[in-house]
Symmetry: C2
Amino acid sequence: MASLMFTVSTSPLLHPSIRNNAFMPRRCIGHIRLHTTPSIRGCTLSIRSSSSPDAGFTCIDGKKEGKSISDEIKIEVSRMDASIHVVPGLAVILVGDSQDSASYVSNKKKACGSAGIKSVDVCLPEHSSEEDVLKHILSFNNDPSIHGILVQLPLPSHLNEANILNVIKKEKDVDGFHPFNMGLLAMRGREPDFVPCTPKGCIELLHRYNVEIEGKRAVVIGRSNIVGMPVAHLLQNEDATVTTIHSKTKNPEEIAREADILIAAAGQPNMVRGSWIKPGAVVIDVGINHIEDLNAPRGRRVVGDVCYEEACKVASAITPVPGGVGPMTIAMLLSNTLTSAKRIHEFE
Amino acid sequence: MASLMFTVSTSPLLHPSIRNNAFMPRRCIGHIRLHTTPSIRGCTLSIRSSSSPDAGFTCIDGKKEGKSISDEIKIEVSRMDASIHVVPGLAVILVGDSQDSASYVSNKKKACGSAGIKSVDVCLPEHSSEEDVLKHILSFNNDPSIHGILVQLPLPSHLNEANILNVIKKEKDVDGFHPFNMGLLAMRGREPDFVPCTPKGCIELLHRYNVEIEGKRAVVIGRSNIVGMPVAHLLQNEDATVTTIHSKTKNPEEIAREADILIAAAGQPNMVRGSWIKPGAVVIDVGINHIEDLNAPRGRRVVGDVCYEEACKVASAITPVPGGVGPMTIAMLLSNTLTSAKRIHEFE
């Protein structure tokens, strides 16, 4: 906590809620109560970007938070196994040969292993029919050892995403993409069975860094079903005033600059420049874009939607790419799978 | 059309899309293609508020538009009856003794009668149990002569609204309040079975008055499940940039003033003053608030969320209360009931 006091005195850019270290009741989204320890709350100063020109700037460390959540889940998984001899199980269906998708699936598998969650992968060839995919989903729907089913997106273009996702049993829809679940997420006073993993990870990071949401202006860049739309609802559910900007918005830069909390989920490398950011804003960069870089080992590297070098001179806090939202997405998938297993087996 | 040219020359406040009479392709929401005739498109000048100080100000006449839609529906109902001997049927369930609710139900019944739609009302006493209500819903779910089921809200406080609404068969959920339907409404690239009536009525008015939505700033005041949230999605689906403001928003007046299209659905009489409105904005007032007025015949009168007298000096167009959104809500209910009957009987 003392370290946070230090932050207060040195950084005019740091978000007031971090600067003032105001205690915010730890709200958990979804059904798992993730136990945030004081050491997590007080981590803002120990995580610094070496490229930051401002001593008070905070690089939001999704990798560290994701690891911490995974460790907490591991404890819960062990407790469940010891008590009722059930291990949560996640089935991942991958269709096609996309390297990126294969890499995500591999990361998910590793993360499941670390947390003690059983994972089952099905890799289907690019030309698979809808029936091929549905057959596996139906089988997992009926498999009592599987508590979460995830179809890796995007699917090859000949497959109808909606038809496929709608078949996943809603009790096992750990990605939270079923329309019924999305409706519950959008509606006030209702609780979704699962909060989609990336939006949940964004909000969890804001919580873990004590970023005040209530009454703040939030701007979400992008209106996708898997990030922009649900994250806008989550922010609004926590009483932010939310504007969603998109490809048809005429003055995105001007609107983005109104944001106390800026969520970039447009899928456009380095789209958000420093001039888009209100001084002191907290920026969550959801983008994972591969760009050419001849100096990089494989000739390309990953960047976010936000120009990090410029943003860190203006924002009070920002997630890096990689190491920001990505690891949180996977942590939230584990969290949702554990939630599902607990719910199905009525384990508290 | 000449009359619109006149509007152009006299009113700097009129919305550009009305001023310039730009042809906008007539987009229909939901599954019914409502046939807008040229006379409807050209109606802006013939509808004037006598209290408007500006000759170019447009009072958006929901009563007239609602009547026109009802007439179109009547023709379709007759055609359906003549072709397949099916008349659309709407069941309305009213619980309790609320005068307002009884009055709405009575209006709906009259409107059904005018359009040739069969209506069945069930009025249950205030103290009815959840089982009492569910029994009737289940019966209507299985009744082939009923194509739409509506439970009048709000329900008495001892009843669980979610439990009751979720039981309505989604094919007959003409209010569109089921989470599955709301999810489809919120998701890009998906189509809800039914668009909730009041939001659908708001958008229909914007269409019928040729208000350009794409690329415009829209501000929705209120985030309710039945108006604010779905209307925000409908506006965003038509490429507006939408901000939703609510009770926790710190500077609602300032944000409202950014709106080209302002939808007031807060349930607060006269909350939106002239100073909240950007000059030339189009204002849709969803509020129906009963306030005391000793000069009124029954000691009270109905006002909207917008202070009409002030708004009409600033806005280019506004819906009055009564006679604005209210009649459109009922027209959209008829439209959804017809859609449902057509869909169930595969009648085109």
